[in-house]
Every structure is written in structure tokens, then in C-alpha cells.
């Protein structure tokens, strides 16, 4: 599905989400991410950042609205085709979700094995990537024996090993010091330069300001969109200002709509 000749990596249109009969945790979310763009997803705890990411990595179905991933409308995509889409998405879960019984190597190899990769290629790629994130000496270690920072790097390695077209990271710098956070951010930027669309959920606003990428702001289930280098926080960008954003702030808090 293309609009204006661009096939968006992710496109949300009037997406709403509620759990059960509860209130909507996300309301009228509309945005689109261009290939190769880099975004932060910010907002206070409980604003729905994780829920929005879950919608993007297909762990949840929206209650209403349209979500399309790589041009596929999720609502009408056959269930059997979803794994193919998921393989093009790398996810760094907030709590890492490494499999505790598998070695570091096997954890990182998982996306390749799931996709049916050849064991010889897997070996080469996984060892190379783990060396690159500084875990060459921990190939056989199980995640519970690793430090938080090491586990985080394993989780990131697993998310990027299959060269995803879309990388979603939920608070990937939550448990590390600023220096490590910047290092990980540079890793994501490197990946972004290779063409991967990156969305990083964080509440580290200092980091966001330093990096100067486009910013999706969630507040009470509403999404506001700011372009890169847009100055002080909270300034809403009009539709079309950001090249990577379609439609600007379609979902907006009613009281701030004026």
C-alpha cells in the first residue's frame, strides 16, 4: 500500500485500543513512519507507550482503526502471513524477555532459526554480532548469569540479528548509565543508517533532546507529533512538517486542540 508513492513502514489511522471494557488507553492515533526514519516515543509512564509498541509488533489487535505494516492491512492479513511480517520487525522488550534456559548464542540465534536460516550462516552472524556488542566471552552464558547491561545487549543483538526493517525498542536504556545509553543509541543510529526504521520508547527526555530526532509524544492515550530539532518540548508540529510523519497530530487532546 503506498500513499504519495511512499510505502510506509507503519501506518496508523484513527487507532483506538482498550483492554476489555475499560477506558481507551489509546485514542485516535494516526501517524505514518517512512522507511529509514528515526523516532522517539515519549510520554509519562502509563501514557500507553508500551501498548502502542505492542500494536506495532503485532502483540495486540487494535479495538478500532487501521494499522498497516509494510503495506499490509493487519486486519485483513491472513494469520499465516503474520509471522512473515513479524520477522521484519526487531523488538527490544522492556524486560528483555530472553529465554533463560538458552545460552546467549542461542537467544540471539533464535530469530534466524525461526526463519529457517542455515546453521552455518547463523553461527557466523551471531558470533560476529555478539563480538561487536562485546559479549564474545559470554556466548555460552545463560541470561540469568549476566548483568543487566549485558542482558540488554543480548536483547538488542537478538532484535537486530535478522536485519529488521523496523526496530522497536521499549526503554532500551532504562537500566543503564548515560554513557552506556549513548553507546546503545549510536548502535541504533548505525542500524538506522543501513535503512532500518527505528522507534525508541523512552522517558529520558534529555537523551531525546540531545539526539534530535523526530518525536512522538503520548499523553493520556493521545499522540502528538514533533519534528526533529523542533526546539522546546511540547511544541506541536503541524501536518506535513516532518518528512517522516503523515498527517501530523491527528490525535490530540481535546483541550489542547485549539
Amino acid at each position: 500500500m503506498t500513499i504519495d508513492g511512499v510505502e510506509y513502514v507503519v501506518r496508523f489511522e484513527n487507532v483506538g485500543l482498550r483492554y476489555g471494557l475499560g477506558p481507551e488507553v489509546l485514542q485516535d492515533i494516526s501517524f505514518a513512519l517512512e522507511p529509514g526514519s528515526f523516532h522517539f516515543l515519549v510520554g509519562p509512564s502509563g501514557a500507553g507507550k508500551s501498548s502502542l509498541l505492542k500494536l506495532m509488533y503485532l502483540a495486540l489487535k487494535p479495538t478500532r482503526g487501521l494499522i498497516s505494516l509494510f503495506g499490509h492491512d493487519i486486519a485483513i492479513t491472513r494469520r499465516g502471513d503474520l509471522p512473515g511480517l513479524r520477522r521484519r520487525v526487531g523488538v527490544v522488550f522492556q524486560d528483555f524477555r530472553l529465554l533463560p534456559h538458552l545460552s546467549t548464542f542461542d537467544n540471539v540465534a533464535l530469530p534466524l532459526r525461526v526463519a529457517g536460516g542455515r546453521e552455518s550462516d547463523i553461527e557466523k552472524n551471531v558470533v560476529e554480532l555478539l563480538s561487536w556488542v562485546g559479549l564474545k566471552d559470554h556466548l555460552k552464558a545463560r541470561p540469568p548469569t549476566l548483568s543487566g547491561g549485558q542482558q540488554q545487549r543480548v536483547a538488542i543483538a537478538r532484535a537486530v540479528i535478522a536485519r529488521p526493517k523496523l526496530l522497536l525498542a521499549d526503554e532500551p536504556t532504562g537500566n543503564v548509565d548515560d554513557r552506556m545509553a549513548m553507546r546503545l543509541m549510536h548502535l541504533f543510529e548505525e542500524l538506522n543508517k543501513l535503512g532500518t526504521t527505528v522507534v525508541i520508547a523512552t522517558h529520558n527526555e534529555g537523551l531525546v533532546n540531545r539526539m534530535g530526532h523526530s518525536c512522538l509524544r503520548l499523553e493520556d492515550g493521545w499522540l502528538e507529533v514533533r519534528g526533529p530539532d523542533s526546539g522546546s518540548a511540547g511544541q506541536t508540529v503541524a501536518a506535513g512538517l516532518s518528512p517522516s510523519i503523515l498527517g501530523g497530530a491527528v490525535g490530540r487532546k481535546p483541550e489542547s486542540a485549539a
Binding site: L58, A59, R79, P83, R86, V89, L110
Partner: protein, 302 residues
Amino acid sequence: MFGHRSDLPLDKDPLSRFLPWLIAFMVYLAVLALAGALVLNAVIVRWDRGVTGTLTVQIAPLERPPSVSAADARADEERRQKAVLDLLRSVPEVARAEALDDQRLMALLEPWLGTTEVAEDLPLPGLVDVELKPGTSLDAAALGARLAKAVPGTSIDDHKIWLERLVRLIRMVEAVASVVLMFIGLATVGTVVFATRTGLAVHQEAIEVLHLIGAQDSYVAQQFARRALVLGLRGGLVGLVLAVPTLFGISYLAAHLEAGLLPDVDMGPAHWLALISMPLAAALIAMVTARMTVMRTLARML
């Protein structure tokens, strides 16, 4: 297949340790039930082969007034017996017709009447053992009618009624054995479904991760199926190993205690093959069941 890497630590599930024993027990019972059915089937075939082709003609002694002397009566009976024999030997299908002598007759009656001399005075029927030429059949009823016309008081017995009853009984026992086998199969399926669901619940988090990084349902199902196959084979072999001595024990006892009742039964290689294939069948049932259970459960995920 057995050394294959698994992403889920299924070996450490408590059920992995206990499923093989359940399957061993199921296979043990299944082998016994199947062996029973096969033995009974062999018995029917043997009886059928041994009994068809023979007839027994019974010549009931005539009632005579007491004035007739015993010697005359005996002579008369012998004359009737000879007439029956002559008629039987004139039938083309008959290979051999032999009257049982008194000694064998007494031997047949001994279990019921004892060895006392009582039997001597009883008016015993004459019995003629008839053997048909192999491969021929005969209308026993028509022959019976001819015999009764020529020599009143004769009747013919082709063992059919007796045999049919026994065969019917055995078929019923066989049917029961089949039902037992079916229940064993269902119980195995139920056990594996339960074990697999427990496994799915225990490893829910890992399965969700696999799911989210793009694993097809079959990728996850395969791991459970492979595990179930290995456990099923292991348990099935234990069950078979336990069942074989039991079978030999039973056949030893049968041969020594009831030798007269059952024809000695030896099972052919096909039968042994059927018994040996039971662990394999159990393992395949376990594998298919596990796979289907996982596929059905995962189909509920987005």
C-alpha cells in the same frame, strides 16, 4: 531427530518424566489386548480348519421289547451300523468312515460316567467318524435325511452349531478387545493433550517470545511433537518390554494348565510385527496429538 536442538526446555517438565510411564502402561495393556485378540483369531482359524471336513453320525439304539435277547439286539445294532457305514462309503465326498469301537466310546464317556462297569449296560449310541475328502463340501442335512431314511434313528452332526457358538463367543471377546484397544488409544490421546497443554502453559512466556519474533505455529508445534514422539517411543518400548514376558508367562501357563482346551497357539511373524508396532503406534499418536493440540491452542493467539 533425537539430538535435535529445542528452544523450549521441555525435557525438564515434570510431565516429561511421567508421560513415558503412562504411555508404557498404555502400550503394555494394548499389547496384551491385541495379543489376546490375535490368539483368539488364530484359534478360530484352527478350529475351523480342524473341524470342517469331519462329520459325526450318531446311531441311536432302538428301543426293543425286553423279550429280545441282548445278543440279538447287539447283532441288530451292528447290522444297522454296517448299513450306515456302507451308505456313507458310497458317498463320493467321503474319504473315510469309521465306527468308533466300544473302547474309544468308553474313553469318551469316562469323564462323565467314570470307569465303573455301569456304562457296559447302558444302551450306548453308535458313533461313526466321517472324514471328507479335502477341499470338498457336503450338504450335511441332505445326507442326514438319506441316512435317517435308510436307517431310522440316525442323526448327523457336522459340529456347526457347536462351532458357531464358540466362534460367536470368541468374536465377542475379540470385539471387547478391540474396544479396549480403542479406549487405550483415547486415553493416550487424552493424556498427551493434557501433558501438552500443561507444557504450553508452563512455557507460555517463551512461546510468546518465539511467536513475536516470527515463529510459525508449526515451528513451536514441531518442538512439542518431536518431544512427544521421543517420549512415546521411550515409554512404548518399556511397555513392550514389560508385556513380552507377561505374554510368554500366560502362554506357558495356558500350555500347561489348559492344554486340552486350546489348540496350541503359535503366532505368526505378522502377529509379532503387529505387537512390536504398538510402541510405534503409541509414539505416532502422541506426536500427532501434541502437534494438533499446540496448533489449536496457538491459533487463538494473534
